[in-house]
């Protein structure tokens, strides 16, 4: 029974229904892949064999009882370690949360459970989702399955690497400035950042609440769309979540005709110098292929894109500094504090010491940068100005979307870089997100799709980036689906 891990969701469900194989066998195959590969890749922080097999059994019981499968019955999904699953640890790859056990399920986890998904494990990430390489994890280093000397991208590097190496069919990540799309591009998988508000953020360990969004990783656009449909929707516990009534037909109906009617915009600003030659060539290839489908292209302009990075590195750290104030070394912690308590330290001492040693370098850098830009005397020059520029960036997209339906460009300026290459220079690491940040600024859905199918141990993957209109994830998924069929 090999190759079960190469099948997509609809093929697996077909196989379950026809009793060609069971969900238990499929999950066992995936667990074997983890045993075989994760020693080197280190995508997972925890693998839950018993839980996964129990959930697989539920899918098999539906089949034997002659009942309908749920949309993700018997489908393994890995969960980024900043998303809470009741009873399991959630560390956000930080020392300060090393003993924390989730007290409740995140909104997306509740929805995955309702849809029958199998939780296969928790994946590594940059500490508190801050980074573009997963090197900021306090737990371990994750390697890119296409070249183990290179980073998988970040911050959802573990999720991307686990999907790329067939250790799971799908995974959840979170994206604040590119943390789903950049690792998806580096690892050669599909990564979707939904519209801000499409997916509940309840139970996501918050980084920058006005930009964070949870989304899926998968090996193809159709599976990514299926997982997205399972997790989207209104959640009372996240007031920014929306009830959109996405229709499955819109995503998977036979609509090449309507897909062909979409116009794709190419912004001059995304095709400037400074992008690696291989990336530019890859994007060109993708554009040619899409043209061959009959999709029209048009030039557009997003004149304020160049300011997105500065704007992001003001707004995001500002939110980080307040969101991470809750990690005071007492709440969510256990053992460390007990020792301090016995020393009769004052509360302020505990805060200073625990936060000083519990947070990693990048986390401290961002908390301090955020505290600085919000501090008295600097607020207007930085935070207020950034919020104004953010409005201009959104306006650019609004103008462009009067003429086109989707915007295409590169996901990142380079392919996966070497481990250690950028870790000592924060600014060069930040530049890795230059093309992905604007979509977060404007709250738009965006996806990274591999330019072609990349085999492990072959060349380094390249992704192309599509940004859509608000709540039009279906446009992105449909372009991806037809592109992948060429």
């Amino acid at each position: 029974m090999d190759n079960l891990t190469n099948l997509n969701i609809s093929e697996l469900h077909e196989g379950y229904k026809q009793k060609k194989f069971s969900a238990k066998e499929v999950i066992k195959n995936y667990l074997e892949n983890i045993k075989e590969k994760d020693g080197v890749i280190s995508a997972f922080l925890g693998v839950y064999e018993d839980l996964a097999l129990k959930q697989a059994k539920e899918a098999d019981e539906l089949i034997s009882a002659g009942k309908e499968l749920k949309s993700l019955s018997g489908i393994p999904i890995a969960i980024k370690d900043n998303i809470l699953v009741e009873g399991l640890p959630a560390t956000a790859s930080s020392k300060i949360l090393k003993d924390y056990i989730s007290a409740y399920d995140a909104g997306v986890v509740t929805k995955l459970k309702e849809n029958g998904a199998v939780f296969i494990g928790r994946t590594n990430m940059d500490e508190f989702a801050m980074g573009s390489s997963t090197e900021n994890s306090a737990v371990r280093l994750t390697r890119n399955p296409h070249d183990i000397e290179r980073v998988p991208g970040g911050s959802s590097g573990g999720s991307a690497a686990s999907v790329a190496s067939n250790m799971t069919l799908g995974a959840l990540g979170s994206d604040t400035g590119g943390s789903i799309r950049q690792p998806a591009s580096f690892c050669g998988v599909v990564g979707l950042k939904p519209t801000y508000g499409a997916v509940s953020r309840s139970g996501l360990i918050a980084m920058a609440s006005s930009l964070d969004q949870i989304g899926p990783f998968a090996r193809n656009s159709e599976d990514a769309g299926e997982i997205f449909l399972a997790i989207q929707g209104k959640d009372e516990l996240d007031n920014t979540s929306s009830n959109i009534n996405y229709s499955k037909e819109d995503f998977f109906g036979n609509n090449l005709k309507s897909t062909k009617q979409l116009t794709i915009g190419l912004p001059d600003e995304y095709f400037a110098d400074g992008t690696e030659k291989e990336v530019s060539l890859g994007i060109k290839t993708a554009i040619e292929k899409l043209k061959s489908l009959g999709i029209n292209f048009k030039k557009v302009s997003l004149p304020h894109s160049k300011y997105a990075l500065s704007t992001y590195y003001i707004i995001m750290p500002a939110e980080v500094s307040s969101n991470l104030a809750r990690f005071d070394g007492i709440r969510y912690a256990t053992k460390e504090h007990e020792i301090l308590g016995k020393e009769k330290s004052s509360l302020l001492d505990v805060y200073l010491k625990e936060r000083g040693r519990g947070f990693g370098v990048e986390t401290k850098r961002r908390i301090i940068l955020g505290t600085f830009v919000l501090s008295s005397g600097y607020y207007d020059a930085y935070y207020h100005k950034a919020q104004q520029v953010k409005a201009l960036i959104s306006q650019d997209f609004n103008n462009a979307f009067k003429e086109v339906d989707v915007i295409l460009g590169p996901v990142t300026p380079t392919r996966a870089f070497k481990i250690g290459e950028k870790s000592s220079d924060p600014l060069s690491m930040y530049l890795s997100d230059i093309f992905t940040i604007p979509a977060n600024m404007a709250g738009l859905p965006a996806i990274s799709i591999p330019v072609k199918k990349y085999e492990i141990d072959g060349e380094l993957p390249i992704g192309f980036h599509l940004v859509g209109k608000k709540f039009r994830e279906a446009d992105l998924i449909n372009i991806g689906r037809y592109y992948e069929k060429i």
């Binding site: 920014t240 007492i330 936060r355 005397g377 409005a391 201009l392």
Partner: protein, 97 residues
């Protein structure tokens, strides 16, 4: 734009942020922050005097929910992730020395 950060400001900010920094960390961080804040200077080019700031991406939201009783999280589980509990109260170190 305002002046670039110096060591004294950094010390003050790190206290506000409740983060104890080692001397060596402080030097590296100061250099990094100066470079980052220098990069932000590009925003000065833009005249935003007439731009209204965008504080939320969802201006269409109903901000208040109905004031009804509901149970969300399990209190005892919340307590279990706290290091010390006495008579149903959470124990913390003294606030005053």
């Amino acid at each position: 734009m305002a002046s670039i950060i110096n060591k004294k400001t950094l010390q003050h900010i790190s206290e506000l942020a409740r983060i104890d920094l080692q001397e060596k960390e402080m030097d590296k961080l100061l250099g990094d922050l100066q470079k980052i804040l220098d990069y932000f200077k590009e925003l000065q080019e833009l005249d935003t005097s007439k731009v209204k700031e965008e504080l939320s991406l969802r201006t269409d939201l109903k901000l208040f929910r109905n004031d009804t009783e509901r149970e969300n999280t399990n209190q005892s589980k919340g307590k279990s992730s706290f290091p010390e509990v006495e008579n149903n109260h959470l124990v913390i170190p003294p606030v005053f020395e």
